[in-house]
């Protein structure tokens, strides 16, 4: 018996076809995985099911009954909840207020806050023990916000739960907690649709996998019929018959030191961190999530005025306590949270991409529009950003394409040190490869140095010359050459081996 049957969905935004023929079946009490490249239509079909968008054509059957919701609230009333990729939380309310938002219960005339807190504590306690439900959401980090978002969807006790890339912002341990919870929900008979870019996650948790490409479903794998084969899944996603194996780019960093960091300290997050960065080198930052990696990236970009320690760029001492200092010395940060720090969501691609340029010290009085538009076009082509034109509003792009814009806008600069904070978050396999290849080409051509923090250790293994493992704010190991492999990374990250 199928909980949900979606057939022949078509949806256009302006002139762009987001979905040409979307089909989807979700069985009772099973977890169905949706995979696909950026803009392949996975998010769109989820949003059509829950009524965020209205389909142009097609039919949706829920429990055998044809449905058409006008907004997510109507879907929720029927037991369909969706965890949004773009967080739907209220920053100024507390964790528990957000969890029950829109579904508050009353006790007499007033709201029943006691019961709401108990309910929130119960769910949060299982997803992330130790998260204080009385904190305001604006004080949380992206991973914690995602947990709250998930808790909010679960609190309505849905019969069908749609998770749109819930793990992109999560750390390993949080993902495992979430999977545990999902398995429990499955045993209670809840059907789920799970979207992720991390293939191994989908293989681990899903019973069925449906793969989307260019607005239609191109393949399906049922784990009860055949084994999940990652190569086969990737070939469905990319559409290439033979999936090319990654090879490590053969570039050799020179011996000149670009950046020397000595005894960096910042509160409890960073403790005595020292390292040298060579010209043309890709230095990876790894370890379990939340061990001070993001703080280190921010510190190097000059975001912390209270930072203690010494920094030398090309032998010259600098005080890294203001973003301005970092930028003047050509240290540029590509931030991890594209929605908050990276993009002006309501503006066009072009505006977003030239902003860093306009902020430079020496600018002609009139912006050389033609020249800049040409440069932007080149970057869009190089990163294969899927957009109608340069004037497309960034907020309407898919998540992966947005992330490419964040990276892309810094690439035209004469950078000496590029800081990448999880640049591939929410970017699909194919686009990820293109992005990194482009970055590595720039490294080679312009002799840039890169410090790369990625939550996915596969990326680190593929692209880093050296890998610094962090643990509780300290740099506990520096891996080089052959040492950079899954085994050693996991072992040193968990402090099994030193």
């Amino acid at each position: 018996m199928n909980a949900l049957e979606v057939t022949g969905i078509r949806k256009c935004f302006g002139g762009v076809v987001a979905l040409s023929n979307g089909n989807l079946v979700c069985q009772f009490g099973k977890i169905t995985g949706l995979l696909g490249a950026n803009g392949s239509g996975k998010s769109t079909i989820s949003k059509i099911i829950t009524g965020v968008y209205a389909a142009d054509e097609g039919e949706i059957k829920y429990n055998g009954k044809a449905i058409k919701y006008r907004n997510p609230h109507e879907a929720k009333r029927d037991g369909i909840a969706m965890i949004f990729q773009n967080l739907s939380l209220i920053p100024d309310l507390t964790v528990w207020q957000n969890i029950v938002l829109g579904a508050e219960t009353k006790k007499g005339m007033f709201l029943n806050n006691k019961q709401a807190k108990i309910l929130s504590q119960e769910i949060i306690g299982q997803l992330q023990p130790g998260l204080d439900i009385n904190r305001k959401v604006s004080e949380l980090n992206p991973g914690e916000m995602q947990i709250v978002e998930i808790a909010k969807a679960i609190s309505s006790e849905p019969r069908l739960l749609i998770l749109d890339e819930p793990t992109a912002a999560l750390e390993q341990e949080q993902v495992q907690n979430l999977f545990k919870y999902m398995r429990r929900l499955r045993h209670q008979g809840v059907s789920m649709i799970f979207t992720s870019h991390r293939i191994w996650e989908v293989m681990e948790i899903c019973q069925d996998v449906i793969i989307f490409r260019n607005g239609e479903n191109v393949g399906a794998i049922n784990s009860e019929v055949e084994a999940m084969d990652p190569e086969k899944i990737i070939s469905f996603i990319t559409g290439e018959a033979n999936h090319r194996q990654f090879t490590k780019a053969d570039h050799k960093p020179s011996d000149d030191t670009v950046l020397r960091i000595k005894d960096l300290n910042y509160g409890k997050s960073l403790k005595n961190i020292s390292f040298d960065l060579k010209k043309g080198e890709v230095l990876g930052i790894g370890g379990l999530a939340g061990q001070g990696q993001s703080e280190l990236m921010l510190a190097l970009a000059g975001s912390f005025p209270q930072l203690k320690g010494e920094a030398y760029i090309n032998g010259k001492k600098i005080r890294l306590i203001r973003p301005k200092t970092a930028i003047r010395n050509n240290i540029l940060l590509v931030p991890g949270d594209r929605q908050l720090e990276g993009l002006l969501m309501n503006h066009s691609l072009y505006t977003n991409m030239i902003f860093p340029k306009l902020a430079q010290k020496r600018q002609p009085l009139f912006t050389p529009r033609k020249k800049y538009r040409k440069e932007c076009q080149d970057i869009i082509k190089a990163l294969s950003i899927k957009a109608h034109s340069l004037d497309t509003v960034v907020g309407t792009l898919s998540g992966g394409n947005q992330q490419k814009v964040v990276v892309g806008k810094w690439l035209s600069f004469s950078t000496s040190v590029l800081l990448l904070a999880d640049p591939a978050k929410g970017v699909d396999v194919g686009a990820k490869r293109e992005m990194y290849e482009y970055i590595l080409k720039e490294v080679k051509d312009k002799q840039m140095s890169i410090i790369l923090y990625a939550s996915d250790s596969e990326e680190l293994m593929q692209y880093c010359d050296r890998l610094m493992i962090m643990y509780e704010g300290k740099a506990v190991a520096m891996l080089t050459g052959e040492e950079i492999n899954e085994d050693t990374i996991v072992a040193t990250s968990m402090r099994i081996r030193q």
């Binding site: 965020v52 907004n71 997510p72 609230h73 929720k76 949004f84 967080l87 739907s88 939380l89 209220i90 920053p91 100024d92 309310l93 207020q97 938002l101 829109g102 579904a103 508050e104 009353k106 005339m109 007033f110 709201l111 909010k152 910042y266 509160g267 409890k268 997050s269 209270q306």
Partner: protein, 340 residues
């Protein structure tokens, strides 16, 4: 509770942004008390409350609108219009017209809120433009029914200002009014109204809509309806203020409310209400209104020459706002240091 827990509580309290407005208020109160020797005598206290109450009510209403993420630039003219309607309907010799005037003006208040709320919430007209435009409509309507200040009132309407001035008022009520004047009662009604509201869905959703309208909508909240409710509530607070004004002046005036609009907005901001919406407390907006009111008092009792009064009051307000901003910034970075 052990000493450490108490210290933690105190720290938490110090880091609250509202604390700064409270500290500024206490400082200004101290200055006022030093300047005005008889501040705590009951008669001068009543005078102070009478002077402060209208702004407090207007600020509470404005605070609700601002929390919901909009702003009301028509609050002052709306106040004027209500005083004009009240005095237009009332006839001195007929006490019953007081009741009619009360009900009709209440309906006018709701209508004002509905018009503003419909435009800002449902039609999505930017509230600054919308309420700027409607402020002229209220002003025009007020001038139409009362081109010059004046009008009639029934005798019992004086009760909104002073129980003692009503003819044949019961002695007990007059004595009660000496301790708790009508102005204070009106403010208390406003506080109770907000207290009840803050415990309901509407109260919670006001913050949600002001903080992030899109997210609130995605959570199934009718954001347009909520902003409409905010404007209606604001109009009710203005209505309370208009009752006091008519009780005090026994006349209506189409222009008397004009300076109140921006004063109330400034008071709300001083009290910690965010212009961007979603943040702040209506109770602390009262503190903001008190700070703004004390500015006038200090200037009066410090014997500042007439020519400089406006200038000095501007400087005091700037000092109050900037010191509150600096306090918030310092306490915020201290808090970050602690959490780091």
């Amino acid at each position: 509770m052990n000493a450490q827990a108490i210290r933690k509580d105190i720290r938490k309290w110090i880091f609250k942004p509202e604390t700064s407005s409270l500290l500024i208020f206490l400082l200004m109160l101290l200055i006022t008390v030093l300047l005005q020797k008889n501040f705590f005598e009951s008669q001068s206290l009543v005078r102070s409350i009478n002077a402060f109450a209208p702004l407090i009510l207007m600020t509470m209403g404005q605070a609700i609108v601002m929390i919901s993420g909009t702003i009301d630039l028509s609050a002052g003219p709306a106040l004027s219009l209500m005083t004009c309607v009240l005095t237009y309907i009332m006839k001195t010799n007929d006490p019953v017209t007081g009741v009619t005037a009360f009900i009709v003006t209440l309906l006018v208040a709701v209508l004002i809120g509905v018009i503003n709320g419909f435009g800002a919430g449902y039609l999505r007209i930017p509230p600054v433009i919308l309420t700027f435009a409607t402020s002229y409509i209220w002003l025009g309507a007020a001038l139409f029914i009362r081109p010059t200040p004046g009008g009639q009132t029934v005798d019992w309407f004086k009760a909104f200002y002073d129980f003692g001035s009503v003819k044949n008022a019961p002695a007990g009520l007059v004595a009660f009014g000496k301790v708790i004047p009508p102005a204070l009662l009106l403010v208390l009604i406003g506080c109770v109204l907000w207290y009840i509201l803050s415990k309901t869905r509407t109260g919670r959703y006001l913050y949600a809509v002001g903080s992030n309208g899109d997210s609130a909508y995605a959570s199934g909240i009718n954001t347009a309806k909520l902003q409409m409710k905010a404007f209606i509530l604001n109009a009710l607070y203005i209505f309370l203020a208009s009752l006091f004004f008519v009780g005090q002046n026994l006349s209506g005036d189409a222009r008397m409310g004009d300076p109140m609009t921006l004063k109330a907005i400034a008071a709300a901001v001083v009290g910690g209400i965010a212009m961007s919406g979603g943040r702040g407390s209506v109770y602390f907006a009262i503190i903001g209104a008190l700070i703004m009111s004390l500015v006038n008092k200090i200037i009066f009792f410090a014997n500042i020459p007439n020519a400089y009064q406006t200038l000095v009051s501007g400087l005091i307000v700037v000092a109050a706002i900037s010191s509150s901003m600096i306090y918030t910034k310092v306490s915020h970075s201290e808090k970050n240091k602690e959490n780091a």
